[in-house]
């Protein structure tokens, strides 16, 4: 099937098998490998992207279901905030908060965790610690014990992250 997605603001048109997962389409067809695959049961959240601005696990979405929709991946996140700062990299404020609060170690869960956190603050701009913890329940991290991830999300909320 031929599908056309707006990915990080760019029209991308491709021929895909009907069964192709959105995450494999992003990674293998479009070369956007920042979105990771950490499980096969939609449990870990490493593949979280924004679909029309809302977080989805891109391993539970078929590429054809995203036809005609807007997808934002970690590669395109900074541009959504018009960001151009950071140490040699353009950071969205959430990315900067993760950097400043040491909210990542190996970095594999990080793209999905950041996208989930952006989506969380869109729904709840000023969450409590407990609300951040509940809100990120669908994203697993094995390195940080979540302590600094939670700090990062709360710090980003304090600064008023753009949705």
């Amino acid at each position: 099937m031929r599908i056309t997605l707006s990915v990080n603001g760019e029209e991308r048109s491709s021929e895909v098998e009907p069964r192709r997962l959105l995450v494999h389409h992003l990674r293998d067809d479009l070369g956007l490998t920042g979105t990771n695959v950490g499980c096969d049961t939609s449990s870990c959240g490493a593949c979280t992207v924004l679909l029309d601005g809302e977080s989805v696990k891109s391993c539970t979405v078929l590429a054809v279901q995203a036809d005609g929709h807007e997808v934002t991946t970690i590669e395109g996140l900074a541009a959504t905030a018009g960001a151009s700062d950071g140490e040699g990299a353009a950071f969205h404020p959430m990315q900067r908060a993760f950097h400043e609060q040491h909210g990542l170690q190996c970095g594999f869960c990080t793209p999905g965790m950041v996208m989930a956190a952006v989506s969380l603050l869109k729904e709840q701009p000023h969450p409590s610690e407990a609300e951040v913890r509940e809100g990120l329940e669908g994203n697993l991290c094995r390195c940080t014990g979540y302590h600094n991830i939670v700090k990062a999300v709360l710090a980003a909320a304090d600064e008023g992250v753009p949705a």
Binding site: E17, R20, H24, R27, D28, G31, L32, T33, G34, N36, V37, G38, C39, D40, T41, S43, C44, A46, I74, E75, A78, G86, E87, G88, A89, A90, F91, Q95, F98, H99, E100, H102, L104, Q105, C106, G107, F108, C109, T110, P111, V114, E129, V132, R133, E134, L136, E137, G138, N139, L140, C141, R142, C143, T144, G145, Y146, H147, N148, I149, V150
Partner: protein, 803 residues
């Protein structure tokens, strides 16, 4: 902690700073490349056909239907690839001379010994085609009785490896004076006899494994990309097992998404990728699925521990006797048999004990092989002694903190020659305990606990302590030799100051989340007085970093980082030789202040390190006999392990009506000597503590009697999310190690080592009024609820047998 606390470091200032990580930008923007992210033109995808039986003979393998599918290039069995291996898969740690080890090849032939054992490999044009074809390979299995229970396996009713004649691989004993142990128990005022089960755990690094073997078709060389902690060790083993000359092998670990020991191995899939790539002359790649990871990647723990203490009337421990049965799984992987023995010396923990006996029997089962998982032997040892000392406290009738104080090795006893044969480098245990109790508010919590008990509330409070010491920084090569380990324990570092004044550091350590690029930069920047941003740390590619022994056992900093510091010291020495020559002074007259080599007492006569580097590059005016360029390499073999320590306090709430346990607060005071980057130290502790708490409360690889893993997915295996755990309070003390120039100790495993016993002690403490003194891990609600019900009815054990 400030840099000036650190012995042997300059006052450059970068050491000890909370420098934000250099690694972050690429990981935060998606620019980082993990193995599955690599674009490899022309690569074929591999799919593994795995045994669905725990124990079965393999009959015919029908590949016809798979081969007929579109995009499938080949299906290869163990027979097809038998000629691809020059030897079996390596077990580098034959712990005893008579250890029994089955021959283990990447693809099973004749018999499969665990669910997940590879019986054939599919080669296809895409990952989807490979996955489809795996399901189409028809293997004729004949199921055999399986053995999963450790003690049953030791009884040999079912023998897994016919040629060995038994499931018992080895028995290893450490018993410096058996008579002294007997005498201590005979004369004891109090004794404690406990049995603990260390359940099997799935490491669950967030990145599953991946591998890509890329042959140089014309050059005869081979590059292996692998999600591994050990590219250097893997290079040697590829040469040994696949017959590729070692000088033709390059191994690259690109960005690696966590390891926790699970990527400290030489895996079948790596060797299969090499074999297929060489046979077909094309790149061959494989990415593990999560459910595949659960059975195909090593698991951790898996022990039954019998733990006995003898003590005098005041509760001072006079002897420790520990006896283990350890689960090897179906085969011996790289260091499987040695893992329990990394704890063998630590069953008396932080306590001054005069008599000691340890023995461990390694047993095969029809389960995934075990091997190193965060802490590797030391969490098990710490759990046993820290649970047992609580039992002793109950027996003697003293408080948890008091029993520890009575037994601590005193500060004036360091360096401490332990009864188990170690020399603990440095320590001061009581201040860490005091600080941890203050941090958590111990007295107030005890008062609140009493209030809830008196009020008969359904949410009872429990407070649990754990004081640990661990041996890490693997390791002095001669000590490893005495333990029959198949390699050394040194680490290599190269520092180069380039002509334009920036610096490259080459490290043989292989980070996969630990932040070495940042920390190593701080060590060098501190000594050379230059900006950490002007330093690049290179690693994880055997072509760039040819010498190394990689990252595990909390060794990177106390071995690899120390080597970086030593190489930097050599750079400074060479700078002084060149600067003295050009400034026409004695080397002794030079001092390094910031990045300037100054002639003492002569303002204005100086050269920067960067200027010396340029002079060393042009070589126009060097002293006779001095080699051009400012570069230094050090290979450091540590004289001893290092021994970080600390006290953790966990607070749990137990709902006595449902058995639900909430970890509500946690304080840890750890001592790893001077901290290069406190932010990174804290991150290691946060993650480690949650992993340890997860063993106590949630995680267990559950096998049925046929050897099926019942919770192979992340839906069924409970890796905690942010919602399950609290924020963690941390503090530290600083007791430098005298064994290395930086005074540093490892911290990668300490959190995990301290956490599980603290949480379990808290849970048992909460239930103490019911008379409950034991609980098995993980303390799932139904297990806790059953224990409460049994206790209320006054029947049945609450512990290890109650699952």
């Amino acid at each position: 902690m400030t840099a000036t606390d650190a012995p042997g470091t300059s006052t450059g200032g970068a050491f000890g700073q909370r420098l934000l990580r250099k690694e972050d930008a690429r990981l935060l923007t998606g620019e980082a490349r993990f193995v599955d992210d690599l674009a490899i033109p022309g690569a074929v995808w591999l799919g593994m056909v795995r045994s669905p039986f725990g124990h079965a003979t393999i009959g015919s393998i029908d590949t016809g239907a798979a081969l007929a599918m579109p995009g499938v290039r080949a299906v290869l069995t163990g027979d097809d690839l038998a000629g691809a291996w020059t030897g079996p898969m390596p077990c580098a740690w034959p712990v005893t001379e008579d250890m029994k080890a089955p021959e283990h090849y990447p693809i099973a032939r004749g018999k499969a010994c665990y669910v997940g054992d590879i019986v054939a490999v599919v080669v296809a044009d895409s990952r989807y085609a490979a996955a489809d074809a795996v399901d189409a390979v028809v293997v004729d299995y004949d199921a055999l009785p399986a053995v999963v229970d450790l003690e049953e396996a030791a009884g040999d009713r079912v023998v897994i490896h016919d040629g060995l004649g038994t499931n018992r691989s080895y028995t290893w004993t450490l018993s410096p004076d058996p008579d002294a142990v007997e005498a201590a128990f005979a004369g004891a005022a109090h004794t404690v006899s406990e049995r603990y089960v260390q359940q099997r755990l799935i490491p669950e690094a967030m990145e599953p494994r991946g591998v890509a073997a890329v042959p140089g078709v014309y050059g005869g060389d081979l590059t292996l990309y692998s999600a591994t902690q050990i590219p250097h060790i893997l290079k040697v083993q590829i040469a040994a097992t696949c017959g590729v000359p070692e000088h033709k092998v390059r191994v690259v670990a690109p960005s690696v998404g966590g390891g926790f020991g699970s990527k400290l191995n030489v895996y079948a899939e790596e060797l299969i990728a090499v074999a297929v790539a060489r046979r077909l002359g094309v790149p061959a790649r494989w990415t593990e699925s999560r459910s595949e990871n659960a059975v195909a990647t090593i698991q951790g723990r898996g022990q039954i521990q019998n733990m006995e203490l003898a003590a005098d009337a005041e509760g001072r421990i006079t002897a420790v006797r520990a006896s283990l049965v350890a689960d090897m799984g179906a085969y011996l992987q790289l260091v499987t048999p040695g893992i329990p023995l990394l704890g063998a010396f630590l069953y008396h923990g932080v306590y001054d004990v005069p008599a000691y006996h340890f023995e461990c029997t390694g047993v095969f089962t029809n389960c995934t092989p075990t091997d190193a998982y965060r802490g590797a032997g030391r969490p098990e040892a710490t759990y046993a002694i820290e649970r047992a000392i609580e039992a002793l406290a109950r027996e003697v009738g003293v408080d948890s903190a008091e029993i520890r104080r009575r037994n601590f090795i005193r500060a004036d006893q360091f360096p401490y020659a332990s009864i188990a044969g170690l020399t603990y480098d440095s320590g001061d245990y009581e201040p860490a305990l005091d600080k941890a109790l203050a941090l958590i508010g111990y007295e107030q919590l005890r008062a609140e606990q009493q209030r809830r008990r008196d009020a008969g509330e359904t949410r009872q409070l429990g407070i649990g302590l754990s004081s640990y010491v661990e041996m890490c920084g693997l390791a002095p090569s001669r000590v490893l030799a005495s333990l029959s380990f198949g390699a050394g324990g040194w680490e290599a570092a190269t520092v180069r100051v380039l002509p334009t004044g920036t610096v490259q550091v080459v490290s043989g350590a292989t980070p996969h989340g630990q932040g070495h690029e940042t920390a190593w930069s701080q060590i060098v920047a501190d000594k050379l007085g230059i900006d950490p941003a002007d330093i690049e740390v290179l690693h994880s590619d055997t072509a760039i970093s040819p010498l190394g022994l990689d990252t595990y056992g909390s060794r990177s900093l106390p071995v690899g980082g120390v080597a970086v510091g030593m190489a930097t010291d050599r750079i400074i020495e060479k700078c002084k030789v060149i600067a003295a020559h050009q400034l026409e002074c004695s080397e002794d007259d030079l001092e390094l202040v910031g990045n300037e080599l100054r002639v003492r007492g002569t303002p204005g006569r100086n050269m920067t390190v960067q200027a010396v580097a340029f002079e060393a590059f042009t070589a126009h005016n060097l002293p006779d006999g001095v080699e051009p360029n400012l570069t230094a390499q050090v290979v450091y073999d540590p004289p001893n392990f290092v021994f970080p320590f600390g006290t953790h306090v966990a607070v749990v709430e137990v709902d006595t009506e449902t058995g639900a346990v909430d970890l509500v607060d946690y304080a840890a005071v750890d001592d790893c000597g001077p901290q290069v980057n406190p932010m990174i130290v804290e991150g290691q502790l946060h993650g480690g503590i949650v992993q340890g708490a997860a063993q106590a409360l949630w995680e267990e690889a559950v096998y049925d009697e046929d050897g099926n893993l019942r919770n192979a997915s992340l839906m069924d295996y409970l890796v905690p999310s942010a919602a399950e755990v609290p924020s963690i309070r941390l503090d530290h003390t600083v007791t430098p190690s005298p064994t290395n120039d930086l005074g540093v100790k490892g911290i990668g495993e300490a959190g995990t080592i301290g956490a599980a016993p603290a949480v379990m002690n808290a849970l048992i403490d909460a239930l103490a009024p019911l008379g409950i003194t034991d609980m098995a891990m993980p303390a799932r609600p139904e297990r806790v609820w059953s224990a409460i019900e049994d206790a209320r009815r006054g029947s049945g054990p609450a512990g290890e047998g109650a699952s």
